[in-house]
Point group: C2
């Protein structure tokens, strides 16, 4: 069984993830609402979080504490998914992109040096190996 598969297995209920991340249910649901995570669901519609979900939540928390807003975090995640290292992914996109980029840059600038949190792959590894 691949590592990628394992890290995406739906395992944890809301209560455990709240403890693991020290986030409120409201916060976690809000981040999902904003497409920052997409936890699986049980048959009865209960959220089931994977290791990767928890990792993401920890990173969201870290970035928020650094002053990045949800739009910025979304951008950071999309950036990574495209396998980019640059901070400028604005070519070949929608009109509002320039503004978005500007906004992000400004926030990241005043949030202190960027790149540290987003480079921490696997925050959850503090809990598990």
């Amino acid at each position: 069984m691949g590592d990628q598969v394992r890290r995406n297995m739906p395992l944890f209920p809301m209560g455990i993830v709240m403890q693991l991340t020290e986030l409120s249910a409201r916060q976690i649901r809000y981040y999902e609402e904003n497409k920052l995570i997409t936890p699986a669901r049980s048959e009865g519609n209960r959220r089931l979080f994977s290791f990767n979900d928890v990792d993401r939540l920890l990173e969201i928390k870290s970035l928020l504490e650094r002053g990045v807003n949800l739009a910025g975090i979304r951008e950071v995640f999309e950036m990574r998914e495209r396998g980019m290292q640059t901070l400028h992914p604005y070519y070949r996109k929608e009109p509002t992109e320039a503004e978005l980029h500007n906004h992000l840059k400004k926030e990241l600038y005043q949030a202190g040096r960027y790149g540290k949190a987003s480079l921490i792959q696997g925050e959850l590894s503090r809990f598990f190996n």
Copy 2:
């Protein structure tokens, strides 16, 4: 945070453990009743299983399939906790010990070569690293 601590963190609810082990809730509760596992409890008295709990359940299942009964499995676990490799831990114990040992030996004998399943540390590693 130590590895031992992590593997003992209460994380999984009953439903997930059922899927992970392919055991029924009845079976899992019965094994707890017989002191083969001791999952933690939530504030509201719900079982919360750790990695080690799931590992144990997988081993219980394996041993049961080999014909070992619960008493035998309990013996195997106690044996390991004492850090023994021998199959003869009957000195310095209660009167019924000799019978127990005899019983176990018989079962293990007819269950095929012993030692394989109990040596598999971390069955759950098939799912996680």
